[in-house]
């Protein structure tokens, strides 16, 4: 019954691990996702091709397989990193494909005339995207990005299988010590809820703030 109070520091470390994975992977996913979305609508064919391949490969690969590819594959090319960093890479790249598609569908909600007007004034592609299209797309991409990052928080559990300290992995030592499996998992679930509800709340605020239509 007292599984939480007895093992507060273990749960705390697990929660911290999950939060860290979620925050760093989210940042990577957002940066790569926006970049790839820009690639996908760029006037340069080769950039569009890179964006398309990136999204289709990552979105259609099971995340576990991607973890194996990163954790086992990258060291073969001499890239040896801490497991946490590998996990951030795998999670961030995987999630960036979904962010990219969310951003791209947001871009598609902006009337094409907006971009044409900007181009006709001599603005470059990055200026058109950054000053005209993305600010107007932002409003409609907040909710899907929120959902994507919540999925990311939950997906981070897979990292536990690759020796990264995170919340789900907490159950192993606890079941060895003979605690009730049910209560162990209830408190783990509460931990995930804390993380996901925080993300929900954050995006709710963003939506309130930027979601107004003009």
């Amino acid at each position: 019954m007292n599984v939480l109070l007895d093992n507060l520091s273990l749960y705390g470390q697990g929660l911290l691990g999950t939060v860290e994975l979620t925050v760093y992977s989210s940042l990577l996913a957002l940066v790569l996702g926006f970049l790839m979305a820009a690639f996908r609508v760029a006037p340069v064919g080769s950039l569009r091709a890179i964006g398309t391949v990136w999204v289709n490969v990552l979105r259609n690969t099971p995340l576990t397989l991607l973890f194996f590819a990163v954790v086992l594959g990258l060291p073969r090319f001499g890239l040896v990193l801490p497991f946490t960093l590998f996990a951030v890479l795998a999670l961030g790249c995987y999630t960036s494909a979904f962010i990219c598609e969310a951003v791209r569908s947001g871009i598609n909600t902006v009337p094409t005339g907006q971009g044409e007007a900007a181009r006709s004034l001599g603005m470059s592609f990055p200026q058109t995207l950054g000053d005209i299209v993305l600010p107007q797309a932002f409003r409609s991409v907040i909710p899907p990005i929120g959902s994507t990052l919540i999925a990311l928080a939950k997906n981070s559990a897979i990292a536990g299988a690759f020796s990264v300290v995170e919340l789900l992995g907490v159950y192993k030592p606890l079941s060895e010590r003979g605690y009730s499996i049910i209560w162990t998992f209830v408190w783990i679930a509460v931990g995930y809820l804390l993380v996901t509800l925080t993300i929900s709340a954050l995006f709710h605020v963003l939506e309130k703030r930027y979601g107004v239509a003009r």
Binding site: V44, Q114, E116, A117, S120, L121, G122, D131, R214
Partner: protein, 247 residues
């Protein structure tokens, strides 16, 4: 009136799939000249306008601006585009920016103008189109006619050598058409080179130096307004004029 050529199209062809929208178009617009393009729906007028600004690519032929061919893409194209203003049927003001910011943006981004200088010039242009008092509003708060006048001011802010208008008054209620045409007439009087796609025959008669009549992707007639309206040569033009002059 026509001095040296500012816009020159030679043998321009364009397809949309199987549809041949521009067929061997030759067109020269002299500096300071006002050319009105008319023709039935689907004849390729918008495509012609957009090709001059390279919002549409063409498959063959050359388009030159002030003697320089249009570049393919990238910075050089953006630079050349900045020299040709474009006004759209649907205004296309930047919806998330105020009227003043709409007019200031491109000079700051493209010409790297200082903010206060860009603002001063923007207010001057808004005053010229009669909208100085609307500077801090958002586009959605303005009437169609006001939005279109802002769009003209925004294009003028780049000090373009020429202006393209694609049916600038077609989306407007009748009582707003004149306020936009008046701004355009003033521009013409000031010597701006203009290509205007419009069905406003009054404007064509009073402001145009030449009328270009297009049908099925070809330029069928290219004459002075008096000649064209009083004695159209082609059957297509006669037919078209009889239809639009009826109402």
């Amino acid at each position: 009136m026509a001095g040296d050529a500012l816009i020159e199209l030679r043998g321009v062809n364009k397809h949309y799939g199987a549809l041949h929208v521009l067929k061997d178009i030759d067109l020269t617009v002299g500096r300071g000249e006002v050319v009105v393009v008319i023709g039935p729906s689907g004849s390729g007028k918008s495509t012609l306008c957009r090709a001059i600004n390279r919002l549409e690519t063409v498959e063959s032929g050359t388009i030159t601006l002030d003697g320089r061919p249009l570049p393919e893409e990238g910075r050089a194209l953006a630079r050349l585009r900045a020299e040709v203003g474009m006004v759209f049927q649907s205004f296309n003001l930047f919806a998330h920016k105020t009227v003043l910011a709409n007019v200031m943006l491109a000079p700051m981004k493209v010409h790297k103008a200082k903010k206060d200088e860009a603002a001063r010039r923007a207010r001057e242009l808004l005053d010229r189109v009669g909208l100085a008092s609307q500077a801090d509003k958002y586009p959605a708060q303005l009437s169609g006619g006001q939005q279109q006048r802002v769009a003209i001011a925004r294009a003028l802010a780049m000090d373009p050598k020429a202006m393209l208008f694609d049916e600038p008054t077609s989306a407007l209620d009748p009582e707003m058409i004149n306020e936009v045409l008046e701004v355009m007439r003033q521009l013409a009087r000031d010597g701006m080179t203009m290509v205007v796609v419009t069905h406003e025959m009054g404007f064509a008669r009073s402001a145009a130096h030449r009328v270009v009549f297009m049908a099925d992707g070809c330029i069928v007639e290219d004459r002075t307004p008096e000649d064209f309206f009083t004695a159209p040569r082609s059957e297509r033009a006669k037919d078209f004029l009889s239809k639009i002059l009826k109402h």
